[in-house]
Structure formats: structure tokens, C-alpha cells
Amino acid sequence: MMTLTRLLATLVGVLFVAALVIGPAGTGPVASLRALILGDGGPLTLVMREIRLPRALLAAMIGAALGLAGAAMQGFLRNPLADPGLIGVSGSAALGAVIALQTGVATMTAFALPVSALAGALIGVLLVLLLAGPRGGSLTLILAGIAISALAGALTSLVLNLSPNPFAANEIVFWMMGSLADRSMTHVWIALPLIVLGSAMLLSLGRGLDALTLGEDAAQAMGINLARLQLTLILGTAAVVGASTAVAGAIGFIGLVVPHVLRGFVGARPGRLLPASALGGAVMLLAADIAVRMILPERNLKLGVLTALVGAPLFLHLIYRTRRAIA
């Protein structure tokens, strides 16, 4: 367990530095890092501090948030198919963000954008849990997710199509696929408080989720307050997914892939899977964001394209494996 944490933390560090030194300006890594840390007042310092640093920070933060949210939802529903992107929570958050941006609420205070996305995510989580039921059977969970994703996506497109801004309609792909291009430190500060708060809530669920693997009755006998556990999960998930989606769009599959890959290494204990998935999510999104800058850098490839190329085959594999349970 400790070696896994150390390995993942090292990977996060290596990829973070790589994300800082790779970019279209094509400057040398040593010069770039020196300009970042020492600051020479030249344009390279500006590029490093205002363009690449926020991008790398956001990739690490949002990847960790999405990995953690996926692990927590899977632990609570005891279902490996639960991922905030697949079950429509990210899509609902995107709808909340788009409404805040297009109504102008987002320009009033900096936190209107993430809070509106949080509200969207909250409605999404509540709807999914309501539709799928407390045990979250695979079939109802996936069907509820499809319906909520479709509705949120359609409403997002509608709001953007109604916008007076000629560029809004082209933004549908950003909200559905996600991107970190040209984000700034402003976005880091907007997203950070809710991601920290939500992550703290989700990480606190470890013991409860471990107990829940023995069944609800056993968990209650062990002194776990299930209603409180559920409320913390819902609010924590809405906070991290809302804040992430508000600044980067809906990036799918991280919450599905990362817990799946790491589950074997932590002895299938949800409590241990939580921190490991946070680190793993950061690794996956940092790697994906480096990849979109190296493959087709001039085409502004969206992050969701890469995460789906990795995640969708795994999703199909998981469906194939759980089809007996579904049937």
C-alpha cells in the first residue's frame, strides 16, 4: 500500500514537471523551469506562471477530484460502473455552468460559476440515486445515467444555441468533452476551494465504505450512520464534480478507469482505494493533457476524446463481465 502511494505520488510529480515543460512555445526545459521559479520578468516567465502552471495545476486537481469521486460512488453503490461522467453528474454540472455563463450570473461574483455547476451536479446525483434506488443496481443505474446525460446535454446545447454570442454554439464540444487549453490562475482559484472541501468530505468516507462492503445491516451494527454517509457522498461528489466541470468541461471516464485499475492493488478495500484513486486520477489527467498537446497540438484536441478512447473499451469490458448480474 505504501509503495503504491509512493509510486503514484512520484508519477504525479514527474508528469507535473513534464506538463510544465511541454508546450507550443518550444522552449528548453531548464530555461522554462528557471523562468518559472526565479522569474526573469521576460515573456517566458509569463508563459510559465500564467499559462503552463495553472494548466498543470488544474490537470492534477481535477484528475484527483474525478478519480476520487468515481471511487467513492463505486464504493457506496457497490457497483464498478458508477462514474460521474457516465451517470450524468458531469453533464448536469456542465448545464449549471453554462446557465451561469449565459445568464451573466457568472460575471457578478467569481464563485457564481462553480456554485451553479455544483447545483447542477447536485440535481444530477440526486436524480440518479432516486432513479437507481439505494442499492444502485447496474441496469437502473446505467439507464438513469443515460437519460440524465441525454437531457443535460440537450439542455446545454439549447442554452448555447439561444446565446446572442456567435461563438457559443461551437462551445458545445468543450462542455461535452472538456479541455484545459488557455485556462488561467483565476480558474485555479475558482475551482480550488470546492475541490478541497469536496475531497475532504469524500476522503472521510473511507471507514464507512469499508464497513458497507459487509452489507448495510453490518455497517449499521458497526455504528455507521448510513443517512449521513449518503449525504456526505452526495455533497462531496457534487462539490468536486461541479468545480471541475465549471472550469474544464465534462471530462469522462477518469472515475471509471482509475478505481478499476487500482482496485487490485489495494485489496479491494474502498477506504484505501479513495486516496489511491485521487493520485491515479491526477496521473491520468496529467498524462491525457500532455498527450493532447503532443498529438495534433494545432487542432485543440479535447481531453474527453483521449479519456474515452481509453475508458470506453474498459466500460464495454465491465459491462460484459457484469452482464450476468444485469440479466
Partner: protein, 282 residues
Amino acid sequence: MPGSDLIRRAFLVGALICAPAILCAEAPRRVVSMNLCTDQLAMLLAAPGQLVSVSNLASDPRSSAMADRARDFPANQGRAEEVYLMQPDLVLAGTYTARASVAMLERLGVRVVTFDLTTRLEDVPGQIVQMGDLLGRPEQAAALAATYTADLKAFQDTVARTPSAALYAANGYTTGAQSLSGQILLTAGFANVATEAGYAFGGMMPLEVLVMKAPEAVITSRPYPGATNAEAVMHHPALRAVQDSRARGSLADSDWVCGTPYILRAVADMAALRRRLTTGAP
């Protein structure tokens, strides 16, 4: 023989006088324009009552230099059905106007004339004359073209120093020398960093490439209402820092997008910005 020479001369003079007269006789009476730029050229040159409708963009002050004038004309959305029902005898379109609608109108037997995209300021008089000939108003067109050419010449004197500049619009779109807006910048006496960065025609220039080029002036497009990420890049702190340490300008689509005489307003704005930069005068 002096007699036949006189006759020949009289015939030539007659032909010269007749040529516009024939055009006048055949001048279209119901003209519909489907493109923002042909809208404005037609409004500048058409006889009263000759122009029946202009595109809906023409009355939008954000994109049109003649928004007030355009409100006097019924607007069309550029759909084949509505344009056909206006029973035009001439339809004006741009090269990139909805191809399907233009093809449909041509199939229905409507005369459609397509105007090329202007990429040089020197192309504008040609388009004015082309529009004048189509509308049977060559004298008005010749006068407008002559004024434009004289006004343009006033900007073309050599400048002591050409400061570097970049155009930066939504999605990080920049344009180089091979475009109309790039030509505005060049004529106003700027050196465009997009051209040296390899974006002669235009394209998405990553923000960090722009920051590393550190142009002396960054001219951004004016945002439309309704916030988008596409336009958020123009408020990016890194771009703001470049602009704060140097000069900033903004471009209004209305004066920049079409090859009409109004484009000289954009040139004048940019020339004023350059003078502020090179002389330090307010």
C-alpha cells in the same frame, strides 16, 4: 477619308455613351442581397427603391458599419425560400454565403452574382465598380471608388518605424498578411507578428506563442454578449500582462470584416494607435 473617320469617331462616342445607357435600361429593379458585405456595397450604390432586402446581419451594429441604414430595408435570413418569394431579378451573394441556398436559387432560375472575398485594400475599388455596373449606377460607383483610392493613398506614405503587433480574436484566432485585417494592420504601419510566426493567412495561435513573440500592440476583437470560453482567452491574465506593458487596441468587426470604404476607418484607428506607440503622444 475625313468623312468616314468622323463617322467612326461618332460611332465610338455613341458606343461609349450607350454602354452605360444599355446597362441603365437593363438595370435590375428588385435586388436582394444575402451577404453582409454585398449588403453594404449595395446600400451605398443602389438607386432609391432598387434594393428590396438585405441580410439580417446588416442591421447588427456589431457586424455592420451601416446598421442604421439597413433598418430601412426588410431583412432576410439568407434562406432560398424567403429570397425567392421576394421575386428578385438580381441576388447578391458572397463566395461563402450558404452554398445550398445559392445553388437552389440558381436552379429556380434567379440571377445570382457572387462577390469574391476581399483580401487586399486595393481590391475594394474593383468591387465598388463591379457593384455599380450590376446595379446600373457606374457614375456613382466611379466617384465612390475615386474617393476611396485617394483616401487610401493618404495612408500609404512611409513610416519611420513599424512597431510589431498582433490581432487576437475569439479562440485565439489570429490573421496574417494574406487577409483583409492583416492588410489593415500593414497599411497602418505595423509589422504583424502572426506572419513571422507562420500564420500568414490566419489560424489559431496558442496564447503562449503570442506571449513569447511579445508584440508591441495586441489588438483584440470586441466581445459579444453572453460569456464564452472562446472569448475568455482575451481576458487571460497573460495576455493582459502583455497588453499592460505595451499597447492595446480593439477591433470592431463592423469596420474590419468587409471590403467597403468604411474599412478606412479601421486603418485610421490603427494608424492612430501606431502614432501613439512611436511618438508617445496621447
